[in-house]
Amino acid sequence: MSLEVKVKEVFKDVLDIGPDEIKENEKLDVCLGIDSTEMVEITVGLKKAFNLDIPNNGFKKTQTFNEIVEFIRSKEAQ
């Protein structure tokens, strides 16, 4: 499973949405209407899925999907 697909799985689990609803280069609060608690829930899901060591408010709803993917990719490369 590619990194993008794995990240989308986390979004899907938290938000009950299909993968097609995510616009990779749009801000998450704009394209998905994500609120602050949903963003924390997604962050916690990503931390578990990728074993990330970041705070629960590490990702922001004003980021894009691709920015989050790139951040995780860079962490995995370290």
Partner: protein, 411 residues
């Protein structure tokens, strides 16, 4: 007070979500108190309750939102949606900075909270959903309703045990009197039928333990009573000034015309035996409404179903109304569906409005052995025909809270 119109009602109750079904069930005295089967309640002293069915059939709440809210907020959203439709209010055409929410709730969203607490002990801090922060607390339904409808006006959540919803409705009406809002969604919501919520209710010592006969367990004013059956549900009313309601041609179900409240100041759980402060709250409500005792046609009682609750309520009514107290029906419709705690006031008001519309007093069920200390006409087991112009609704909470609302017939 200037009378305030009730122009919409949304009921989510064990006796039905549809208004007509609710009235048919309570007026015929068909008990909705059943054994709890959604979790293993076999070790609880009281393991019966009024439980809401078919909520999903009436709900348009998304599955995404349902993950973030407790069931007490879900019930409140469904009740709000029904009430707004009933009042024929187009929210898109309203100035929502002048709309408000007055919500009553006693215990908060425990199903959500206890699930997350379990996860905290099993998985540690990271196991707790961040949704917990906004899901469990008593003002959560107020927040969710405001988000849902973009309501931005003066609003408040009242936590006052079993008097919460009645107080919320009363303070909503007072707020309209003060000109702070154009219209208000007022009522209450409660979801005590969860493992921890039910445990807390049990420890208060006021629940019936007649588990083998749920339908006949809740017996207000009966000598063989042993406590109330708990229930879940929500009720939301649309309140607006009479002037505004008439101007927009809204259906006026009834009016709020007065309110009184006092506290006993004697015990953490039980009311004062003499009912003196309840009597004073009734007198305050009558004065606020500009009514004499003999102008009251019906009293929707608190009907705690505990010995001290029933006897002190009877004493309070007699003290306030004098000899006239024995000439009017006093019934507890909640004997049919259970006690909704912080939500019961909203459903009691709805039941009283429906009683006015149908010129019929819904019965107190399971009243077969009269208690000599409870000597009013409690309308036992069978509805009574009765023209009702003015009525009182009484709700009381732990810690000696007395709350009395005066209502008047609308259409």
């Amino acid at each position: 007070m200037k009378r305030i119109a009730i122009t919409g009602m949304g009921i989510v109750s064990p006796s039905g979500i549809d208004e007509r079904k609710f009235w048919a069930n309570i007026s015929h005295g068909r008990s909705a108190v059943k054994k709890i089967e959604r979790f293993d309640a076999s070790k609880y002293p009281s393991r019966i309750a009024g439980q809401v069915h078919e909520l999903d059939a009436y709900s348009n709440v998304s599955s995404r939102l349902l993950k973030k809210i407790d069931v007490f907020s879900h019930m409140a959203l469904v009740a709000s949606q029904i009430a707004i439709q009933d009042a024929k209010i187009d929210m898109e055409k309203e100035n929502l900075k002048r709309a408000g929410i007055f919500a009553g709730n006693a215990i908060g969203g425990w199903l959500y909270a206890e699930t997350e607490l379990r996860d905290m002990y099993l998985e540690g801090r990271e196991g707790v959903s961040p949704f917990m922060a906004s899901a469990w607390f008593p003002a959560a339904p107020q927040g969710q309703i405001s988000i849902n409808y973009k309501i931005k006006g003066y609003s408040k959540t009242i936590v006052s045990d079993r008097a919460s919803a009645l107080m919320a409705i009363a303070y909503g009406a007072k707020n309209l009197n003060d000109g702070k809002n154009d219209f208000i969604l007022a009522g209450g919501m409660e979801a005590p039928v969860s493992p921890y919520g039910l445990l807390c209710c049990n420890t208060s010592g006021v629940l019936t333990q007649r588990n083998d006969t749920p339908e006949t367990a809740y017996r207000p004013f009966d000598k063989t009573r042993d406590g109330m059956a708990v229930a879940e549900g929500a009720g939301i009313l649309i309140l607006e000034t009479e002037e505004r309601a008439k101007k927009r041609g809204a259906p006026i179900n009834g009016y709020i015309i007065g309110y009184g409240t006092t506290t006993d100041g004697v015990d953490r759980i039980e009311p004062a035996e003499d009912g003196a402060e309840l009597s004073r709250a009734i007198t305050m409500a009558l004065a606020d409404a500009g009514l004499e005792p003999n102008q009251i046609d019906y009293i929707c009682a608190d009907g705690a179903g505990t010995q001290i609750g029933d006897i002190s309520e009877t004493r309070g009514i007699k003290k306030a109304l004098g000899a006239y107290a024995k000439k009017i029906p006093v019934s507890a419709p909640k004997s049919v569906f259970g006690n909704m705690l912080g939500a019961c006031g909203a459903v009691d008001v709805a039941a009283t409005i429906l009683a006015m519309e149908h010129s019929m007093v819904p019965p107190t069920i399971n009243l077969n052995t009269p208690d000599p200390d409870c000597d009013l006409d409690y309308c036992p087991n069978k509805a009574q025909s009765k023209e009702i112009k003015n009525a009182l609704v009484i709700n009381r909470g732990r810690g000696g809270i007395n709350s009395v609302l005066a209502l008047q017939r609308g259409r």
